[in-house]
């Protein structure tokens, strides 16, 4: 009996591979959203496993806000090259040319333009009928309500009051023209599962996840990474300091904070995650304030 038992991580892996394969079997033109973060790294790893020894039969789509950390761009390009993935990068050029930024326009408007509109435009341009995303249900309360196959109307919008029933592991992928689905293969993974799996499978992640002495600005209880070229972001009285720190989650540089940490390798990160008493999304400015994740999801944010 015991020799026929999967560890809970391997059971989650099998479930995710099943979901990824179902999408490829049932949809005409799927794409995998790739945000360069740790959850994306796991998602891509699962896609490679699902179709081995063949390459996975879809492209990776990075909706780039232009505000990601330099380390993320370096990692993205090297990683996609190494695994031979077809990477598509799309930006909301219109908003970028108008100088969209969170400081002047506010976080909500900036996210709306660069992420949501950028994503919806890119999905429409590519004519994708299914888009994989690396969202997890343990992250946030509106994501806790998300189906694995999440229907979107012609405007890419989510209707949380009227979700399609989802039974067993039978996914109903039937859609009308113009509709699409967002598919979340790692819905049932927790942050702890992600870190443990990255450690076990030796998955490559952006170096910013590992603790290092980094120049930081202390603002309230947030640690904001400091870059020479962004000097003008300093508020009065703020002085950048070298602080041993790392990121639990990666987003846009103006809106993602770091945490103090000494975890320099995967063992230490898993131990830190196990002991964590605060949620990872606490360091993401996007989740706070009046424009919640729920509102953004309804508008089409992933």
């Amino acid at each position: 009996m015991s020799e026929h038992k999967l560890t809970q991580l391997k059971a989650l892996e099998a479930e995710s591979i099943h979901i990824i394969r179902e999408v490829v079997a049932e949809f005409r033109n799927p794409v995998m959203l790739y945000s360069v973060g740790k959850d994306s790294s796991v998602l891509v790893h699962l896609a490679r496993k699902a179709f081995y020894p063949a390459p996975f039969p879809f492209s990776l789509l990075h909706v780039d806000t232009g505000y990601k950390f330099k380390e993320m761009y370096d990692f993205r390009d090297a990683f996609c090259e190494e695994i031979g993935a077809d990477l598509i990068v799309r930006k909301n050029e219109d908003a970028i040319n108008k100088g969209m930024n969170p400081k002047e326009f506010g976080v909500a408007r900036c996210c709306q333009a660069l992420k949501t509109t950028g994503l919806l435009d890119a999905l429409e341009e590519g004519g994708y009928d299914a888009a994989f995303g690396g969202a997890r249900r343990d992250e946030e309360h509106s994501r806790a309500k998300e189906r694995v196959f999440s229907m979107r109307d012609e405007f890419g919008q989510w209707d949380p009051k009227n979700q399609r029933p989802e039974l067993w592991n039978i996914y109903n992928g039937r859609i009308h023209d113009g509709e699409s689905v967002r598919v979340f293969p790692i819905s049932n993974w927790t942050e702890m599962d992600i870190w443990s799996y990255i450690r076990e499978e030796k998955i490559e992640i952006v170096p910013l996840y590992f603790a290092k002495e980094r120049p930081m600005i202390e603002r309230g209880n947030m640690l904001i990474p400091y870059y020479e070229e962004n000097k003008d972001q300093l508020l009065e009285g703020e002085v950048p300091k070298m602080i041993m720190s790392r990121f639990r989650t990666l987003g846009c540089s103006p809106c993602t904070g770091a945490v103090r940490s000494d975890a320099t390798n995967m063992d230490e990160i898993v131990i830190e995650a196990a002991a964590a008493r605060r949620s990872e999304r606490e360091t993401r400015i996007i989740d706070h304030g009046s424009n919640s994740m729920e509102d953004k999801k309804k508008e089409g944010y992933f």
Binding site: H4, L12, E22, L167, W168, S187, N188, R199, R277, D295
Partner: protein
């Protein structure tokens, strides 16, 4: 830093859990309590739901509004009710729990079915003041049909009935009788107060007359073993892998998730529905080829003979075959807005197959109070009954009682594309 044992984390078992109940029976409070007691909630999330704003620390569960911790969407807050399933995650050193937190309103039964279909165990909440309600019976009946191995009845709000043992016993007897009628094997009843925490993770001082385990002890100790690997081998083929690249010109792999049983290199397999036979040449995974694979692994199988196999076909061992039939009879939980009607046509999705189907007969409709089988020719939304479908093409299936994967299907309305029914083959 305390020593962390990476090997021990590999022993952690996964338990899929569903929580159901009626409106206002304290379900949110119970789940909030479980999250707090197992440290499944983070400090910043607790801070957001503390009772006194301005407090800088949360040091005990009494300081937070437990029900707010599982607060739903603003769309739900507007109506003051939970519409859809929310998934919660918590862990003890032994187990990781995936909990589907289901709505109580009858009109959202479809979402309760969604949350329950994958569960290994269910917690049915009952408000001690109100006893067993119609909705309790409906939920219990559905959980029974879905074959949830363990049912836990949580008799909540015992603090509001002076922790009275007789009140608890009366509910327990009624539930025992109801469950016995439909053959539920494992029923556990626990009196508790989610608000004060008695019998959730600690015993408390108010119910010494109860000698059983607390809820958390029960969840940690109940068996999660299944006998999936001892059942006949079934693998629905999801996809054919034919890379046709320079280094893999002739590669033909059959990809799928093993629904039950085990398969070894060299095994003789029959492909249904064609009936063609071949032997296993390789079992391929990214982590290296396997000699043997078992449920629920996702694998790729290469056969020794070049035979025609496509999505929806089923692989199984010769001599351990299932039924293939143009008719299918099942217990159906109807979740569509429009009723199921005799002679109406639908699509049935079963494992990796999709076939056209027509309702040839509604055998009966179940009265959820008495479990009587009433004559009917349709099933309205939220009704449960037994239905025979005629299929356009034969399907290969097992009984749901034998195999949850190859014995289940969904009914799809081909006009709206909605999922309108859940079927469990008898």
């Amino acid at each position: 830093m305390t020593k962390f044992n990476f090997e021990l984390t590999k022993e952690i078992e996964l338990l899929r859990l569903v929580t159901v109940g009626s409106v206002d029976d304290g379900k949110s409070t119970l789940i909030g309590r479980l999250l707090v007691d197992t440290k499944g909630a983070f400090e910043d999330q607790l801070m957001a739901v503390r009772k006194k704003k301005g407090t800088v620390k949360v040091s005990s569960a009494a300081e937070i509004d437990l029900a707010m911790l599982t607060d739903g969407l603003s769309a739900e807050r507007e109506q003051g009710i939970t519409i859809d399933v929310a998934y919660r995650y918590f862990a003890t050193p032994k187990r990781k729990f995936i909990m589907a937190d289901c709505p109580g309103h009858e009109q959202y039964t479809r979402n309760m079915v969604t949350g329950s279909s994958t569960a290994n165990a269910a917690i049915i909440l009952i408000d001690a003041r109100h006893g067993v309600l119609a909705q309790t019976k409906r939920h219990t009946h559905i959980l029974g049909l879905l074959g949830i191995p363990h049912l836990i009845v949580a008799v909540n709000k015992m603090d509001l009935v002076d922790h009275d043992q007789a009140t608890y016993e009366k509910i327990r007897e009624e539930m025992k009788e109801y469950c016995a009628k439909q053959g539920v094997r494992d029923l556990i009843c626990i009196p508790m107060s989610a608000l004060t925490g008695d019998m959730v993770s600690v015993r408390g001082d108010n119910m010494d007359w109860y000698k059983g385990d607390t809820l958390l002890e029960t969840l940690e100790s109940m068996s999660v073993l299944d006998d999936l690997d001892e059942k006949p081998f079934r693998m629905p083929v999801q996809l054919l892998n034919r890379p046709q690249t320079a280094d893999l010109p002739d590669y033909r792999g059959f990809m799928g998730t093993i629904a039950s049983g085990t398969v070894k290199v060299g095994d003789e397999l029959v492909v249904k529905p064609s009936g063609k036979i071949s032997t296993v040449k390789e079992i391929v995974t990214f982590d290296g080829n396997l000699q043997e694979a078992f449920a629920p692994q996702s694998i790729t199988i290469i056969l020794n003979d070049e035979i025609d196999i496509s999505r929806g076909d089923m692989l199984m061992h010769v001599g351990q075959e299932d039924s293939d039939s143009k008719f299918l009879t099942a217990n159906v939980c109807w979740i569509g807005d429009e009723p199921l009607e005799t002679r109406k046509k639908y699509l049935i999705k079963h494992a990796a197959s999709e076939v056209k189907a027509m309702v040839s007969e509604v055998n009966f409709k179940t009265d959820i109070h008495t479990l009587a089988q009433d004559e009917a020719d349709e099933l309205a939304m939220n009704e449960i009954g037994r239905v025979t479908f005629k299929l356009q093409q034969p399907l290969n299936y097992d009984k749901y009682a034998d195999n949850r994967t190859t014995g289940s299907f969904i009914v799809i309305d081909s006009f709206t594309n909605n999922t309108v029914g859940a079927g469990m083959i008898v």
